[in-house]
């Protein structure tokens, strides 16, 4: 009797759990499905009531039309250059910094790390005007640099990676030194492979936040040749008219796809980053 009771209870528990997960999933996935569905509808279908879920004939042409509405190839190229440059530079700065903060002893280490955290806490909005003026002084406003230079270091990344490096036992580093590995090799062959989950997480967060960056490029750019995809998509509203949702959504799908691709590559590592398990 008891075992029956407890197995029934367990079944109920897992059923409630699954139901709850489905609800949460639906809430998160609904806007995506809505976006994809709308991007394949005709203008008439977007206005119909009740709303159409599955378009009668998928309008693949919407994508082409969205892309023709502006210099989208340039926008996409700009977005790609900006985001990839930021990530590459951030990694080049972040890995040595985190390694030093985690494993070296030097004067003022805590003060310097405090400064890094301080940078992490300053709201970006405060820096808009001074950075703009600085970039204007340096005559960089007509280039992509204003969208890259301010993000060359990633305080959150340094913080997260430092925590991760700190968990790596000292003995492993000492063993590598006894194996005649120089510092550079040690970082490349021991630290980086062990911190892969953390690096994937940082790369994804960084990619998403800079790929989706809207306000900063809006302030820092003044011509189509240096604008990223986000600004291009938002301008569809002006060029296509406010009610052309099918075209706007087609643009948005194009904007979101790279993020999904990056996530697919990183997701496994990201889960690992939060459940670190060393070797006993």
């Amino acid at each position: 009797m008891n075992t029956l009771d407890s197995s029934y209870f367990n079944w109920l528990k897992s059923a409630v759990g699954i139901a709850f997960k489905i609800v949460i999933l639906a809430v998160f996935i609904f806007p995506f499905l809505w976006m994809i569905s709308t991007s394949l509808q005709t203008f008439r279908e977007t206005l119909a009531f009740p709303p159409t879920w599955i378009p009668a004939v998928p309008q693949w042409g919407n994508f082409a039309e969205a892309m023709r509405a502006g210099p989208f190839l340039t926008y996409a190229k700009n977005s790609l250059i900006i985001t990839v440059s930021i990530i590459v530079i951030q990694f080049a700065v972040m890995i040595p910094a985190a390694y030093a903060f985690a494993k070296y002893r030097f004067a003022l280490k805590n003060v310097l790390f405090g400064l890094v955290l301080l940078a992490f806490m300053i709201p970006g909005q405060i820096t808009f005007i001074p950075v703009y003026l600085m970039m204007a002084d340096m005559d960089l406003i007509h280039t992509l640099w204003p969208q890259i230079i301010p993000f060359m270091s990633n305080a959150f990344g340094i913080f997260l990676l430092r925590q991760y490096f700190m968990q790596i036992p000292e003995e492993i580093i000492e063993a590598a030194r006894l194996d005649n590995a120089g510092e550079w090799k040690l970082v490349r062959k021991i630290m980086i492979p062990m911190a892969k989950p953390a690096l994937a997480t940082i790369a994804l967060f960084s990619f998403v936040s800079h790929w989706n960056e809207y306000f900063w490029p809006l302030v820092m750019t003044n011509s189509a040749s240096i604008r990223p995809l986000t600004l291009g998509i938002s301008m569809l509203r002006e060029t296509e008219g406010i009610s052309n949702w099918h075209i706007i959504m087609a643009g948005n799908v194009v904007l979101v796809i790279p993020i999904l691709i990056v996530y697919l590559f990183c997701s496994k590592q990201i889960v690992k980053a939060f459940v670190y398990s060393g070797i006993k």
Binding site: E171, A175, L178, N180, P193, M194
Partner: protein, 351 residues
């Protein structure tokens, strides 16, 4: 092969001196065990040889050459760590190969070396596994193979067996003794376990509070301990110590040297005699260990026979030749010392 010398070596951690003006020579090709309670500085010495915890002052010589400025990887030493410290992201093969690659050993040579080493330590089938798929004993072997493959002139081991279960530990102990015999290299082994030290060492260096208490072969350190600390650190159970009641002097005897009897033995048979009650009895199979309370003293007695029970009254006797005496400065008195004869007489007259 290489000898190691410490000359007036000191080490301070955060302004606290851990080791002061230490001098020690570790002989070439010997199995030397540094042993002592935790915090005695034994691991600190080992790390100085490796170069991963440099000394504050003095000189460390390997084969007569001052290595103070030579980086760890170029000293010709290899180390096995307590938690093995194998690289978790690399396969067994890559773990062993890492040091060779860094030393620019050609590929074909590397392959040959790795295969022959893995044959020796029994890892041949596991070369492509990740450390997380290996058992504790296998990881231990990876750590050993990684050290051996570099053909170091000095092997350093920091409590390498302490994470293994008791049975495997005994087995690995024998394997290490054999390995040392085969390689003929200088082994420096750190442990807090005096049984390990006794069973493996050619020379034991016993340390306490950053100072060397005694440096001798296991037999010598057991039978002729320099001082009270050594007498009470080496041996299970350690040497029994009792107050003599004069000049702060003490007497001592090993648990296996005491003879128990139900009747008082004839006057002349045993030199030191006392009567006591058995408090505890540990039956270990081949021997039995009794704890006997006699007045304010408590003695451990190891007996090959299991004749007595708890709460029984017994007589305990020790032969004159098995008694040790320690002066007020805690140093052991040689039997030729004039004070020893006096203490011997004092002990005999004690009620």
């Amino acid at each position: 092969m290489a000898s190691i010398q410490f000359v007036d070596v000191s080490k301070t951690f955060d302004k606290q001196a851990v080791i002061r003006d230490l001098n020690l020579t570790i002989e070439d090709g010997k199995f030397t065990v540094l042993v002592g309670p935790s915090g005695c500085g034994k691991t600190t010495l080992l790390r100085m040889i490796a170069g991963i915890g440099p000394h504050t002052s003095g000189r460390v010589l390997i084969d007569g050459k001052d290595v103070s400025r030579i980086p760890p990887g170029q000293r010709g030493v290899a180390m096995v760590f307590q938690n093995y410290a194998i690289y978790p992201t690399m396969s067994v093969r890559e773990n062993i190969e890492f040091g060779l690659k860094n030393n620019k050993v050609p590929k074909a040579e590397r392959k040959r070396l790795i295969e022959s080493i893995c044959e020796t330590v029994g890892l041949a089938e596991y070369l492509d596994r990740k450390p997380s798929d290996l058992s504790g004993g296998q990881r231990q072997r990876v750590a050993l193979a990684r050290a051996m493959v570099k053909k170091p002139s000095v092997f350093l081991m920091d409590e390498p067996l302490s994470n293994l279960d008791a049975k495997l530990r005994v087995q690995m102990r024998i394997e290490l003794i054999e390995l040392h015999k085969k390689l003929g290299t200088t082994f420096v082994y750190v442990t807090h376990d005096q049984v390990e030290a006794m069973s493996m060492a050619d020379t034991i260096v016993l340390m306490n509070k950053g100072e060397i208490q005694q440096e001798a072969a296991p037999e010598a350190i057991y039978h002729q301990p320099n001082n009270l600390f050594t007498a009470q650190f080496i041996g299970v159970p350690p040497m029994n110590i009792g107050e003599l009641g004069t000049e702060g002097a003490r007497f001592g005897f090993r648990p296996e040297h005491a003879v128990l009897s139900r009747q008082l033995p004839p006057e002349s048979a045993l030199h030191y005699q006392t009567r006591g009650t058995i408090i505890t009895r540990e039956m270990l199979g081949s021997e039995t260990i009794y704890q006997i309370r006699s007045g304010s003293d408590s003695f451990m007695v190891k007996s090959a026979e299991d004749l007595y029970r708890v709460d029984e009254e017994v007589f305990l006797g020790v032969d004159a030749s098995k008694l040790h005496f320690f002066g007020g400065d805690e140093r052991r008195l040689e039997s030729s010392d004039p004070r020893a004869a006096g203490y011997l007489e004092l002990l005999r007259r004690r009620p």
